[in-house]
Structures are given as C-alpha cells and as structure tokens.
C-alpha cells in the first residue's frame, strides 16, 4: 500500500518536472459587465492582461473593442482610453491581435477560458503574477481591478475582485 503511494507520488512529481510547459493548466475567468442606469450607454472597451512582479505586461489575454470605422473614426482611436493597458502593452501592439482582439460585449457575466497552450501564457516564467482587467466606457468612466496569482499553478487557485463602477464581479480560477 505504502509502496504504491510512494511510486504514484514520485511519478506525479517527475511528470510535473519534465512536462512543465505541457502541463494542462487552465485559467478561467468570469467578468461581469454591470447594468448601468445612464442616459447614454455604450458597451465598454475591456482589456485583460497579466502583469509580472515588475508590473510590466507579460501576456495579453483579451481585448474587447470596436474595430469598425464609424463617422467618428475607427474604433481603435479610443484604445488609449484603456490607459494602463495602453501604456503597458497597447501602444506597442499592432491590433487586431489574433486570439486576443474581439468585439465589445453586452451587460452580463462573461466566462473566458485560457489554456496554457495559448502562446502568451505558455511563455510565462514560473512566478507571481497579477491578472488585470481594465474597462472604459464612452461618455462613462474607467475602472481597473487586479487579482494576484501564481503561475504555473501547483494547486487550484481562486481569486476575486469586485468592481464598483464599470466592472462587476471578476473571478479567477486556475486549475493545475
């Protein structure tokens, strides 16, 4: 009995060591866009990214914006309003970014799943990171929430943040 246990643990430990990059970790995220009682409503622009301990952007996960031309110009004109994201990543990116860019989303909870085979997550060196969600709304406000996590996950991790204006509940769950 004890022999089997030891063998199993050893196997798990070894496979973990050898196969770290291929480890089937999964990052699940729930982002709530709150219902707002305002005269003029536009869906927010939202950026989701990962910052390292140096507070620099380490991976872009999602970017919701309007990519179309309107009479006011292309929707990318307002990307700098996602101020922290723009400063840390956006201004050096060429949008659209494959697998990151997407259209704006309506009020409600949005579930996002990121596997570690996504190139940007797989490039993360082991360490402490912060998930950042920033939302900005035309003729509205801007809000930014942060949830710390460790990558890669050795055990399941969960983190929550509650926005107070432009974001509702934001929940992070990581499965090793």
């Amino acid at each position: 009995m004890s022999k089997i246990n030891i063998t199993t643990q050893l196997t798990i430990a070894l496979s973990g060591l050898l196969a770290m990059p291929a480890y089937a970790a999964e990052l699940n995220l729930s982002i709530e866009i709150p219902q707002l009682n305002v005269a003029e409503y536009h869906r927010p622009y939202v950026a989701v990214w990962v910052e390292g301990a140096d507070q620099k952007a380490a991976a872009n996960l999602s970017l919701w914006y309007q990519a179309k031309d309107t009479k006011e110009g292309n929707g990318t004109k307002w990307l700098p309003d996602l101020r922290q994201w723009w400063r840390k990543s956006g201004r050096t990116l060429k949008v659209p970014v494959d697998g990151v860019s997407g259209p704006t989303r309506p009020v409600g909870k949005h579930a996002l799943k990121f596997g570690d085979r996504r190139s940007e997550l797989s490039k993360l060196a082991p360490g402490n990171y912060t998930l950042v969600v920033e939302a900005v709304r035309e003729v509205g406000g801007r809000e930014l929430v942060r949830i710390p996590f460790t990558w890669p996950a050795k055990a399941p991790q969960a983190g929550n943040a509650q926005g107070s204006s432009e974001l509702g509940a934001v929940a992070l769950a990581i499965k090793p």
């Binding site: 292309n74 990318t76 004109k77 990307l79 700098p80 101020r83 922290q84 723009w86 400063r87 201004r91």
Partner: protein, 282 residues
C-alpha cells in the same frame, strides 16, 4: 513670463495691429509681464490611429489654461515629427485671446510642438523720442543708427512647447537643438502618471543647466484658491524630478540669463522655457 521674451512675441504680433503702443507699454512693465504665462495646450497628448488630428491652443494668460489675456501669434510654430522632419500646422487662426491650429499626426511616435522665439531687441533715444527695434544680428548694423543715444540691446531665446504621441512614444523629435533652454526627458513626456516620479534634465545650449529654478503649476487654477505651484531646482547635471500629485495638464516654466550674446552690443541674453505636460490618472 519673462518680459523680454513676451515683448518679442507681442511686438512681432502687434506690428500688424494698431495696438502696438499699448502692448509695448504692457510688455515694458516688468510686473505685468512676469505675471503672465505663455502656453500651448494640445487637445490630447496620447492618441492612436493612422493619421489622427489634434488641435492646439496658444495663448498668454494669468490663469491656466484659460484664454484671458492675449493670443500667442502663430508665425513661429515649429513642429517636429517623430522621424525628426518638420511638420506643418494647419487651419491656423488667431482670435482676440487665443490662437489655434491643428496638427495631423501622420506618423507613429512623438511630436514636439513648439513656438521658438529669439532675436535681438534694441531701444534708444532719438531726438527725445523712444525708438524700438527688433531683428537679427546681421540687420543690426544697417538698421540701428551707429550713434544711437542711450542704446540698450538685449537678446532673448525662448521656447514654448508641448508633446503629443501617436501610438508608441519615441525620442527622435525630443533631441535637443542645442539653442537656449531645452528639456531633455529621462521619463518620456507622454508617459506621466499621477503619483509617479518623472525625471528630466535641463540644458542650456546643449550643456547641463545646473541651479535652474523651475515652477510647475497644474491647470484649472480658476477652480481653486491657491496656485499650488511646485518648485524644484536642477542639480549639477541639470537634472530634476517631480512626483505628480494628481492628474491634469501641467505648466512648467524656467528662466535664466547669461552673457552669451551673438552681438557685442547686447550685454545680456534672456532665456525662457515653457512646457505643457499632461499627467494621466492611474
């Protein structure tokens, strides 16, 4: 505002206007002149697009950034594009209290938008009447009488500027020209955030300017009861740092004087520098 510098701006402008004498007398009163602030205010400093437009106000005022004194004339707008080439202001207009012009940002990177002013000014007595002259060192010999009585000659170099970045910031346009007081960024001028420290260096004619006193005032002065000015002095390497107390459009000014004139008759050279810097919230 340095009186000699303001005088140059206003004199040139008012040559075309009948209010010349009035403005002249205003500019000649040191107190009046020093109380005024010259500035450029861009509609935004961080922007994205293939060729977005911004618009810039140019004025001299007491309060920041309100138009309540005189417009800055547009003749001396100098725009440096991100690749170092010259860009042209568009749709320029001058009203009673302000000038305005547009800039189309056709390149990605940082634009330096400046008004650069300089030259010689002279005053003398001609048969009991005061005479004034302004021009270059070359023209001085032919335009100012050799036997001018009570001749006073001064030289000035002034720069009023701001910075705007389309996309990712770069430093090409920020390279000092080597004339007058210039700001050399350590922190990029379009990367300023509330609560963070920004570092810059000041140079005079391309060399570190130690001991320069700098005044920094946040805009919106009409809605508070104090200037809340920040005063800093450059160190031996010309460097200084400022931690922005809050987001806003900030006006930065420093002045100096020396004897490095281009004409022996001019004993003093006055130097001024003004930058408008936007600080964003965290």
């Amino acid at each position: 505002m340095n009186s000699a510098f303001l005088f140059h701006f206003l004199q040139e402008h008012s040559m075309k206007r009948t209010a010349f004498a009035l403005v002249l007398s205003l500019a000649a009163i040191p107190f009046t002149a020093t109380a005024h602030k010259a500035w450029l205010q861009p509609s935004q400093t961080v922007i994205a697009g293939t060729d977005p437009w911004i618009t810039v106000d140019a004025a001299v005022s007491n309060d920041l950034f309100y138009f309540n004194h005189v417009a800055l004339p547009l003749e001396r707008v100098a725009i440096t594009a991100p690749d170092g080439s010259k860009a042209e202001p568009q749709n320029g207009a001058t009203g009673k209290y302000r000038s305005v012009f547009d800039v189309q940002l056709q390149q990605q990177g940082t634009y330096r938008i400046a008004m650069v002013n300089g030259g010689l000014s002279a005053s003398w007595d001609e048969n009991g009447k005061p005479k004034r002259w302004r021009g270059t060192a070359e023209k001085f010999a032919t335009e100012v009488p050799k036997d001018a009585k009570d001749l006073k000659v001064s030289q000035s170099v002034g720069r009023v500027e701001t910075f705007v970045t389309n996309g990712s910031p770069n430093d090409t346009a920020l390279k000092p020209t080597g004339e007058g007081i210039e700001l050399v960024p350590v922190t990029h001028p379009n990367d300023l955030f509330a609560g963070e420290e920004a570092k810059f260096k000041l140079q005079i004619d391309g060399k570190p300017a130690a001991g320069l006193e700098i005044e920094i005032v946040r805009g919106g002065t009409r809605y508070r009861n104090a200037q809340d000015e920040i005063k800093v002095t450059t160190g031996a390497d010309g460097g200084f740092s400022v931690t922005w107390p809050e987001a806003g459009m900030y006006w930065l000014e420093t002045t100096s004087q020396d004897g490095r004139t281009s004409l022996p008759q001019a004993r003093q050279r006055r130097l001024t520098y003004v930058a408008t810097l936007e600080v964003l919230p965290q």
